[in-house]
């Protein structure tokens, strides 16, 4: 008895949606095993992770707060992944957004005006776009792999932030701690649910989902992105400029990541610190995939992954569990999802491989950028 994969004549649409659910089930099972290895009661741990955070209105608000950057970035990255552009430096673009937007907040520290926040938002977006423009330029002009350049720039961005908060932007009254001044009220995001920390960024995240959905399903740009991603040659023959596409998706991803970064520092954090994100820019990659590279999917995936962050914190407090468990959960979810996605293109056949290959056909060819 051998398990073999048989290529489906066409991709299974239902499996596109079922696969994340199967992956989630497997992730939970693997999580139970992990907790047992750690010597923790699995039911207690799973409760602390996935249920307890949602038992209070505080928890629900926090869910929105944590989902905001994930959705903003994830929804933009999913466009890029569809176009075959692998921007994995969103974390750096987020950091630059925080630096540029936060810089405005510090610069206009004494200005009490309605216009401070919009200006910060604009500069946050521009900062992220600028950081993403570098890999875009290097990719289109010099053919340099955007995976590696965007990632290297993440390290540079983190060091830049560290340089600024250790040096020129350090709070003069801050006892030499590497922190900026706490932003003034006019540089702080308004809270949209009083009594909680849910801020205006959540509205932007929902708007981004809607906007990207329209872009992808109703505009020619969205159509071009899909074509170039699925069949680059067809796109070229149709006269779509691949370079323009690279610029577009990278600037979009950078801008959204910058926005997310600005929201972090002017919302939940309220100042510039050496570390402003627990890796939202990287986790957004998982969000994009779990969300099936579709805006609505990303919305739900963002909430799910946000819950894993929240659960990690709650399990740390109530059960003294290390925060790293969150990362392990997220990684496992992506692993299982990628494994389950085989069911979209193939079906499982129990039997000898000879019988299977008789009905099977051609290898899939997923072009992957390189070099």
């Amino acid at each position: 008895m051998i398990v073999s994969l048989v290529k489906r004549p066409e991709q299974s649409q239902s499996m596109v949606y079922v696969s994340p659910l199967i992956a989630l089930v497997f992730t939970l099972i693997a999580g139970i095993i992990m907790f047992m290895i750690m010597g923790v009661d699995p039911s207690e741990a799973l409760y602390a992770f996935f249920v307890e955070p949602l038992t209070s209105s505080y928890g629900w608000a926090e869910l929105g707060v944590k989902a905001t950057p994930l959705i903003l970035i994830g929804v933009a990255l999913s466009i890029g992944f569809r176009a075959g552009v692998w921007n994995i430096g969103a974390e750096g673009q987020l950091t630059l957004g925080a630096i540029c937007g936060g810089g405005i907040a510090l610069w206009l520290y004494d200005v009490d005006s309605f216009f401070v926040l919009p200006l910060m938002i604009i500069f946050g977006v521009l900062g992220g776009m600028f950081w993403a423009a570098i890999p875009a330029f290097l990719k289109t002009r010099f053919n340099a792999n955007e995976i590696l350049t965007s990632l290297m720039l993440t390290y540079v961005a983190t060091l830049l932030l560290s340089l600024l908060v250790h040096g020129p932007w350090r709070d003069p009254d801050g006892f030499n701690f590497p922190e900026s001044r706490i932003f003034s009220d006019s540089a702080t995001l308004p809270v949209i649910w009083s009594g909680t920390s849910l801020h205006l960024g959540w509205v932007f995240a929902l708007a981004a989902v809607a906007g990207i959905w329209v872009l992808m399903s109703r505009t020619i740009i969205g159509f071009q992105i899909k074509v170039v991603g699925q069949a680059p040659d067809a796109g070229r023959h149709a006269g779509f400029s691949v370079n323009k596409m690279v610029w577009f998706v990278l600037l979009l991803g950078g801008g959204m990541a910058g926005l997310a970064g600005l929201f972090e520092v002017s919302g939940p954090i309220g100042q510039l610190l050496p570390s402003i994100s627990p890796g939202y820019g990287f986790t957004a990659i998982i969000v994009a995939f779990v969300g099936r590279l579709h805006p609505i999917g990303v919305l739900f995936a963002g909430l799910l992954i946000a819950l894993s962050y929240l659960g990690g914190e709650s399990a740390q407090i109530t059960m003294n569990m290390p925060l790293a468990v969150t990362g392990v959960f997220q990684g496992m979810l992506l692993f299982f999802l990628l494994a389950c996605d085989v069911l979209i293109g193939y079906r499982i056949q129990w039997g000898s491989s000879a019988a299977a290959s008789a009905t099977g056909s051609g290898a899939v060819s997923n072009e992957v950028p390189n070099g």
Partner: protein, 307 residues
Amino acid sequence: MGEVLIAAVLTIITAATPLVYASIGEMISEKAGVLNLGVEGMMLMGAVCGFAAVNATDSSAIGIIVGMLAGSGLSLIFAVLVLGFQATQVATGLALTIFGIGISSLIGQDLVGIAYDGLPKLPIPGLSAIPVAGKLLFNHDILVYGSFVLILVVSWFLRSTRSGLILRAVGDSHDAAHAIGYHVIRIRYMAILFGGAMSGLAGAYLSLSYSPLWIENMSAGRGWIALALVVFATWRPWRVFTGAYLFGGITILQLHAQALGIGVPAQVMSMLPYVATIIVLVLISQDHNKIKLNAPACIGKPFHPTS
């Protein structure tokens, strides 16, 4: 001055050694047509498991072996997903790194703050007494010597052995290799596991020799630099070696800048390796054909045997 220079060269060697391991491993995997972006995760896994093993057994040999096994253990997940489940290599590699960062800090949470003497130096009798050269070349730990041996063996393997030829065939045209009767999947499994083992060794070198302790995320992007080095080297072992040592040279600027009285903030110096990676990538990628001619033709493409 002589002393300073020797110290400088020794720093270059220690900074280059993990890069040599990781990028040679990745190069082999890419030669077989598999792009594994999980190097960073596998390095961290090697680092934490190697360190944990030394801590538990007090044997550096066991530490090295465990580090190697941990790296290839993680790469096995990648191999199964990519080869067995036809998952996209880029996404799976990213997942491997994210998972590796998480699981390594989970494993290492009780190891933070524990100190270790570092791998013992193994001076080669006689040779190590030679002035200057003895210190530079013949007074290292086992992993530095190992990296020299590795580069020799790998370049010989790829150039002069039948197995090396088969490996390259699988990476350049899996359909043709399959048609001739080679086991594409099996060969790719071996290449991925080898790559994982080398990344694990690179990590073990970091936690057992480079800075003998465990810190979360201690590889600090070296896995990614290793990936860039493979492109920089246009998939040739000796160029990988040269590239790794060039990067070692940059690291040294970072470490000795203050000693040399260069008044640049530490963060700016720390940016150097990453900026250099970008510059190097740009320089090498500029020539479209150079990459096209040298890159394994099937890199990143999944293979599903049909007959």
